[in-house]
Amino acid sequence: MARKLRILIAKPGLDGHDRGAKVVARALRDAGFEVIYTGLHQTPEMIAEAAIQEDVDAVGLSILSGAHMTLFPEVMRLLREKGAGDILVFGGGIIPKEDMEALYKMGCGRLFGPGTPTQEIIDYLREKFPDRT
């Protein structure tokens, strides 16, 4: 039987804006995915560790503080370093287009800005993981 899609929603760094992370976590859960939310103030190390321990398919990072160019690459690097480079890192927040392009080039998954319907995120994840339910 196909396994359920498992997602870690994480808030890296000191950013306290958690409205988006919580709304997305809830929407993904309502869509039938297994969702783990880290809570606030996580270091990239803590997030990579949790992603591996929880055996997730993808990590969604929510960053509205402008620290995305540091924190996205760092989480991706740590996952690779720990042999979990296959875990998809995607995310959302206040991220200028130019930075989005740069992060895509580094292998980051889709980044969703303000105004994204939650269905778009659900569809994206279903498409990325067709063998999961």
């Binding site: 760094g13 000191l14 409205r19 709304v23 939310y37 103030h41 620290a67 160019m69 540091t70 105004g115």
Partner: protein, 550 residues
């Protein structure tokens, strides 16, 4: 009674002429059902003198001053900060040169959490969503060439508010300005940090103790300073309804008043320095009603429940910021218009100061051009529209009065629920307001996703293949490195033995009963850094973490 009978009959007749579909289910942004028409029937218990009275007089529903904006306009105060203290200093001078009338400091996340720029948790965050201030030296740079005796400054700082305030007081001292002359505000509202903004340092109990220390110090040495700005803004941004914003904010305020009284302060010594900070969201009339209800509730509670005797203790003075969460990344120029409506609601609601958001803030911190348009929006309202000529021009509107009553009633229902949980601190510890807000946020998102709520440019009137055509501010990536280097030099240059001594004194004060402001000021004068001072306090007070929930 006859008069109402006749109106009731006439209204029933008129309703038969209205299409049923029009009567249907219309709601405010917060989900409050609204009628198609309001009449005297909605205000049958209305008593002008009891419910409204006159501006500048109890219960202050119509405004807190006798002459309102004819006497003095609201303060135009743009929340701003980015990069280094030097970058932000230049932005302040730019804003003041273009007619801004007060300053408002946005700190970066490390500063908001009482951490230095070289703290490992600060990685990637330095100067990004505000200005990095790690020491007195940074604060001196921030206000270089800005005479602190002449400007009023608001600082959005909570967990480490005592320290940043001390930086400001000592900076003024060095400019030759005594603390008695300083005007401004520290946010210093820790309860809403646990509820919504999440930049706390210590657990609730020691946090309340620091706040009462600040209130006592302010009453004695900085009498023109607002020692707390009880904030609904972040509660609303986190997704609450208007009624939740109103209720949770006022309940937080009452909790501080209780803490002050419990600490042995006379309510009339500190209550006049309490100020408020609200959001101005999309629903024009609901927002105006919220501001009016807030004033009336506060006046009543302060006079009747807390037995304040000075009229200044009764009045609710507030700052407003337009709703950042309503701005769209799509067709960002539309945000100028959204912000203008929200700003107008704040003015019609009688705000004392106002921040208007810039169109580009869903992408980054605002550019000079974007912030100038935001400031001009306020100047247009003040000097072109004529709305300032008359006080509370919507007073007496059947709709606005009914809505004001309704919001007031909803707030009292929340007060009751919170009291049943054992008060606000207990309610927060049980996650009650947090859950209420998360629920409301999810409901709102669902309504938008399902197209039941229109967001222009997002789920309706979408531009296919839209390209972003406005410039975006970039923070120099060298800011973090420069800031670290500057801190390293400071740590070398200062008298480190003295720093150690003052930090020990501070810890002793935290463990005992002495007002912590005095040893914090000594530590600041010795150039102890923000992180060092907060670190010392954490050793005594401990830290706080919330259980993750969604």
């Amino acid at each position: 009674m006859n008069e109402y009978e006749e109106i009731r009959r006439e209204k029933a007749r008129w309703e038969r002429c209205v299409d049923k579909g029009d009567i249907g289910s219309f709601q405010t942004v917060s989900g409050l059902p609204v009628e198609i028409l309001y009449t005297p029937l909605d205000l049958t218990n209305f008593d002008y003198l009891r419910d409204l009275g006159f501006p500048g007089e109890y219960p202050f529903t119509r405004g807190i001053r006798h002459n309102m904006y004819r006497g003095r306009l609201w303060t135009m105060r743009q929340f701003s900060g980015f990069g280094t203290a030097r970058d932000t200093n230049a932005r302040y001078k730019f804003l003041l040169a273009h007619g801004e009338t007060g300053l408002s400091v946005a700190f970066d996340f490390p500063t908001l959490y009482g951490r230095d720029s070289d703290d490992p948790m600060a990685m990637g965050e330095v100067g990004k969503c505000g200005v990095a201030i790690s020491s007195l030296e940074d604060m001196e740079t921030l206000f270089e060439g800005i005479p602190l005796g002449e400007v009023s400054t608001s600082m959005t700082i909570n967990g480490p508010a005592a320290v940043l305030w001390a930086f400001y007081i000592v900076t003024a001292e060095k400019q030759g300005v005594p603390s008695e002359r300083l005007r401004g505000t520290i946010q210093n509202d820790i309860l809403k940090e646990y509820i919504a903004q999440k930049s706390w340092l210590f657990p609730p109990e020691p946090s309340l103790r620091i706040i009462t220390d600040i209130m006592a110090f302010g009453a004695e040495h900085v009498p023109k300073w607002n020692t707390i700005s009880i904030s609904g803004y972040h509660i609303r941004e986190a997704g609450s309804t208007a009624a939740q914003e109103l209720a949770f904010t006022l309940k937080d305020g009452m909790t501080y008043v209780e803490a002050g009284i419990k600490a042995g302060l006379d309510v009339d010594t500190f209550a006049p320095r309490l100020s408020f900070f609200f959001n101005s969201h999309l629903d024009f009339f609901e927002e105006i009603a919220k501001f009016r209800a807030a004033r009336r509730i506060w006046a009543r509670e302060m006079r009747e429940k807390f037995k304040a005797r000075k009229p200044e203790s009764w009045l609710l003075r507030f700052h407003t910021q337009t709703a950042g969460c309503t701005l769209t990344a799509q067709q960002p120029e539309n945000n100028i218009v959204r912000t203008a409506f929200q700003a107008l609601a704040a003015v019609l609601g009688g705000t004392q100061s106002l921040h208007t958001n810039s169109m580009d803030e869903t992408w980054a911190l605002p550019t000079e051009k974007a912030v100038l348009i935001a400031l001009r929006t306020q100047q247009l309202i003040a000097e072109e529209t004529g709305v300032i000529n008359v006080i509370d021009p919507l007073g007496g509107s059947y709709y606005v009065e009914a809505l004001t009553n309704q919001l007031e009633q909803q707030a009292y229902e929340y007060f009751k629920k919170i009291d049943a949980l054992g008060g606000m601190v207990k309610a927060i510890e049980q996650g009650y307001p947090q859950r209420e807000i998360a629920e409301a946020a999810y409901r709102y998102q669902k309504a938008v996703d399902e197209g039941r709520r229109t967001v222009v440019g997002v789920n309706k009137y979408v531009l296919e293949g839209e390209k972003l055509e406005i410039p975006i501010l970039k923070i120099d990536p060298r800011v973090e490195e420069e800031q670290r280097e500057r801190l390293a030099r400071l740590r070398q240059r200062r008298d480190n033995a003295r720093v150690q001594k003052v930090l020990l004194d501070l810890k002793a004060a935290c463990a005992g009963k002495e007002n912590v402001m005095y040893p914090i000021l000594e530590a600041v004068r010795a150039y102890a850094t923000l992180g060092e001072i907060c670190g010392a306090m954490k050793e005594v007070f401990g830290t706080y973490a919330e259980p993750p929930m969604f």
